[in-house]
């Protein structure tokens, strides 16, 4: 089986293809929520161990931080509508702000916006018609770039160039592999598990 369909289903055309249904909105929200919960659970286990180690890394901490970018790419690959990456990443950020994140409510949300925007622009570049693996990887990388620029300006502003360069590269690679690759795999799995039957992304793979 190969997910090579580049356009949405033939019946959905024009502006209707881009209109968000209720199920699109709710499932995008739920994906944001679930990703938020997964991070929370992940953080409970790994946070205390990994945080001190990460502080000692010369910028490599951006790679694992890319798990935060999963929501946007995953949301877009499932919903396939303009704004999906931005919206899903934003919901995930708001969830983590409400749960309590060390970066603070407003700037968590701002970070979500920038990261979501990175992925969103990439999908827009392909006119919201291509949802294949290479595009997913690029979208993850773009989200990573957004995250790196944002973090370097806001949080690591006094960093030496070496740190900044390592940080940007780690974020891009981490974003591509984790946010892009894992999300793409997750969508295939979700489709096979029948969870996406109300979405073109699910019907396509199940019908194949």
């Amino acid at each position: 089986m190969h997910a090579t369909v580049t356009s949405s289903e033939s019946t959905a055309t024009g502006s209707r293809r881009f209109r968000w249904r209720v199920v699109d909105i709710v499932v995008a929200s739920v994906v944001g929520v679930a990703v938020g919960v997964i991070f929370w659970a992940w953080g409970v286990v790994w946070g205390p161990i990994s945080a001190p180690i990460e502080a000692l890394l010369p910028g490599l901490q951006a790679a694992p931080a890319a798990v935060w970018l999963v929501a946007g790419v995953l949301g877009a690959l499932i919903i396939r509508k303009p704004g999906a990456a931005l919206y899903t990443e934003l919901v995930a950020a708001i969830v983590s702000a409400l749960i309590g994140s060390q970066w603070g409510g407003l700037l968590t949300i701002e970070a979500g916006l920038v990261q979501g925007l990175g992925a969103e622009l990439l999908f827009a570049l392909f006119l919201y018609r291509n949802w294949r693996l290479p595009v997913a990887l690029l979208a993850g990388a773009a989200a990573g770039l957004g995250m790196a620029i944002n973090d370097l300006i806001l949080w690591y502003v006094g960093a030496a160039p070496t740190f900044a360069i390592v940080y940007v590269i780690s974020a891009i690679v981490g974003g591509a592999l984790i946010a892009g690759g894992l999300s793409w795999l997750a969508v295939r799995g979700l489709a096979r598990a029948g969870a996406l039957d109300r979405f073109a992304a699910g019907r396509e793979l199940r019908a194949a």
Partner: protein, 506 residues
């Protein structure tokens, strides 16, 4: 719109004319060429086997099947002569899963949600909210948290949300399948009151017929693909079509599908003993204290009691998955077979051949992408030779009628198939003891019978079985001992810590 009576609106008529629906991505339609008329004010029980399209029909009447990118419709499905999808607000729908239909965080907001969506003016909203809450018997403040409601209360809340919209047609899709017996009665009685006061047409799907029989005046039975098998007065249909209904897995009134033969004498032997056991789902918050119980090989122990008393937590503790909060849990030599300490200290792999667990929701247990791979997980973790893995898998596929599904993704199975698979995965490693959490919950009569037979067969092989259950029929027909859990006296809400008592032999 209806005049401003307390609750009611004009009852709606339903008309299906050659109606059919095929879900997008499926080859065969869920419902095909159905003709059906439901008159205003009629109360209909809709029956059919899994795959008969009854849920699709109900969702069609509610107008929530989606647009033509989600499936293909044929014929017409009309509410009061207008297409169902264009009549939002004329019908209200209550679904099966109590967790998945609470929209808002506060009780009042949740009921108001539908009214806001219909554009009802604010000053009219709150009186209607209060009236609806009153009608379903939810005597709670408007700002009460919806997260703190029991399953039965949530279903009544969903009903109130529907009722506030003053629908002419109330649609209920297995509204009580996920509830304990007390919750079932709560919801059934609320529906009865609502139907009486509003006079609305209503259609309910439920395979435990006896719950709804007193309320309905018509029974419709659908066969595969929505074919109309029977339609008429409840008594006539249930009598005339008993054999077909039984084959479709419908629970006919006062009929238990199967009774276990009594166990042979002297086959019992102790496997696991709980001594003053305290159990907790979250460490430090015990839900149940001081349980004394013994699990015997060759015996079936039923654990019963009201919701929230700690039955599942006890089961998961006995299964070696949760660490006891206090007291002792001693595995006899026949169960421990060399594993050290209490079961919660055993390695995950050591549990496989000792204690198997079947969770309440099968989906929590699925790990693989196909039924066959799912069955192979346990034997492979035991590092059994490939030939043995194959042999066990084949045998289970066959005995649980999963052969034709071996390549299917477990998450896409029907409810009964999922249940059979989750039991099979536990059996694949041949544990000496099996813990089942609500094994018959929401199952139709056919799956129920299969499970009962299987569990008794295990008992006869000397396996010790613990089953947490609300299902009195199951306790009567299958169990040989019962552990009844109680809330402390005077505590009607979620108990801080329950107590165990009344262990009785049948």
């Amino acid at each position: 719109m209806a005049p401003h009576e307390a609750l009611g609106a004009r009852a709606a008529a339903v008309s299906a004319q050659g109606w059919g629906w095929r879900h997008g991505g499926r080859r065969t339609p869920a419902v095909h060429d159905l003709d059906l008329e439901i008159a205003p004010g009629e109360r209909v029980l809709l029956l059919g086997a899994s795959g008969s399209g009854k849920s699709t029909l109900l969702h069609g009447m509610a107008g929530v099947l989606g647009g033509d990118d989600e499936g293909d419709a044929t014929g017409r499905l009309l509410i009061d002569g207008r297409p169902a999808a264009a009549t939002r607000g004329r019908s209200g729908l209550v679904l099966q899963d109590p967790d998945a239909q609470v929209v808002m965080a506060r009780v009042g907001d949740d009921v108001a949600f539908g009214l806001e969506n219909l554009g009802i003016p604010r000053e009219e909203i709150w009186p209607r909210v209060d009236a609806a809450l009153d009608a379903v018997g939810l005597d709670l403040p408007r700002d009460h948290s919806t997260a703190e409601l029991s399953g039965g209360q949530r279903q009544r809340l969903a009903l109130a949300g529907v009722l506030a919209m003053r629908p002419g047609l109330i649609l209920l899709d297995e509204p009580t399948a996920n509830l304990d017996p007390a919750g079932v009665l709560e919801v059934r009685d609320a529906v009865a009151r609502v139907a009486e006061e509003s006079g609305a047409t209503f259609v309910v799907i439920e395979h435990r017929v006896s719950t709804w029989l007193p309320l309905v005046d018509r029974v419709i039975v659908l066969g595969t693909g929505g074919a109309l098998i029977a339609d008429g007065a409840p008594g006539d249909v249930l009598d005339a079509r008993a054999a077909e209904l039984r084959a479709a897995g419908v629970w006919l009134p006062s009929e238990v599908p199967w009774h276990a033969p009594a166990p042979g004498a002297a086959s019992r032997h102790p496997l696991l003993t709980a001594d003053r056991l305290d159990v907790a789902r979250v460490p430090g918050v015990p839900v149940l204290r001081g349980v004394d119980v013994q699990v015997d090989g060759g015996g079936i122990l039923a654990v019963t009691g009201p919701n929230g008393v700690g039955k599942s937590t006890l089961a998961l503790t006995l299964a070696g998955l949760l660490r006891p909060e206090g007291g002792r849990l001693i595995a006899g030599p026949e169960l421990a077979k060399g594993a050290h300490g209490e079961p919660w200290r055993w390695r995950s792999r050591e549990l496989l051949t000792r204690i198997g667990t079947v969770f309440q929701s099968p989906e929590h247990q699925f790990l693989a992408g196909s039924v066959r791979a799912e069955l192979e997980v346990g034997p492979r973790a035991l590092k059994l030779p490939a030939a043995e893995v194959d042999a066990r898998t084949e045998a289970l596929l066959h005995s649980l009628r999963l052969d034709r599904l071996e390549g299917v993704n477990p998450f896409t199975l029907s409810g009964g198939e999922k249940r059979r698979l989750s039991v099979a995965t536990a059996l694949a490693t041949r544990p000496r003891m099996l813990v089942l959490d609500e094994p018959t919950f929401g199952q139709d009569a056919n799956t129920w019978r299969e499970l009962a037979r299987l569990i008794v067969a295990l008992r006869d092989d000397g396996v010790g079985v613990v089953a947490v259950t609300h299902d009195e029929a199951f306790v009567d027909a299958v169990a040989d001992r019962r552990l009844e859990l109680h809330r402390p006296a005077g505590d009607e809400r979620v108990a801080p810590a329950g107590t165990a008592s009344g262990e009785a032999r049948r």
